[in-house]
Amino acid sequence: MTDFNTKNPFKIPENYFKNLEDSLLKNAKSISYSHGFTIPKDYFNTLEEDILHKAVKSNSFSRRKIALGIATIAATLAVLLNLSSIENSETIIEDQAFNDYIESYYLDNSDGYEIISMLEEIDMGQDFEDYNKKPK
């Protein structure tokens, strides 16, 4: 057994493995592309640029969309709040006008005694108590 040479006796053609790699890649390519579809030259290089460009754009667009959404909500809330405050102020103005009208009516048509008689005793007591307080 020891007389046998352990060296590999088989030989291969020159550049076999390089050619094998090329032919395997070519075959793999032809298998996956055998549907007949082709693409423009350098398409995948430009595709990458296009995608990256659009991705950045869409990202800033979506951020702008969010900001615009928030601004729209804020504007709507502001308008609603304004409307309700206008309504409130109108009510206050109406109430005040009515009170002024009552006040001026009694002042014009009643004397001091009549006005005093309309006040309840508790109110009067409190008012007088306030006056009776000694200044500190």
């Binding site: 996956s32 592309y33 055998s34 082709t38 423009p40 995948f44 990458e48 296009d50 991705a55 869409s58």
Partner: protein, 180 residues
Amino acid sequence: METQQSLFISSLQEPETKEKAFKRLVQEYKERLYWHIRKLVLDHDDANDVVQNTFIKIHLNIDKFKGDSSLYTWMYRIATNESINFINSKSSKMGLQNQEWIEAKANGLKADSYFDGDEAALILQKIIAKLPEKQRIVFNMKYFDGQTYESMAKILDTSIGALKASYHHAVKKIKSQLND
């Protein structure tokens, strides 16, 4: 492998590393996704639109990717859905059924400057266009891309049995059409 993928996904989700990682993702998957889409929509310009939309969707939704499936499966699913949505929208605008629109596209392949297949390839594409949508997708993925049923089941969210049946029906129909 899994750790590598989860690290890559994290880098896609981190605002500081997102752009760089996304560039890597585009470089890695652009061709595979393009060819998958191209075989579904047939026309190069249409495939270009769909592949760009697919990557934009990936970019916009990568933060929501929870890693329930592999990144590859998730992206293929987006690409498939985008292709179907594209066909739906184009065909409805023209008042056609999806299959009619695809058949019209397949009939126009001979005049397409980006199709250099021989007569057999042209006939095959015309027959594939006549298949129902699911069978068409399954046939393309299995026959041209050599995808496994396991991988296809994850992408299309269908059972392996259903996929085998679809492929079997598709092959049977194609063979019978070729014999006619």
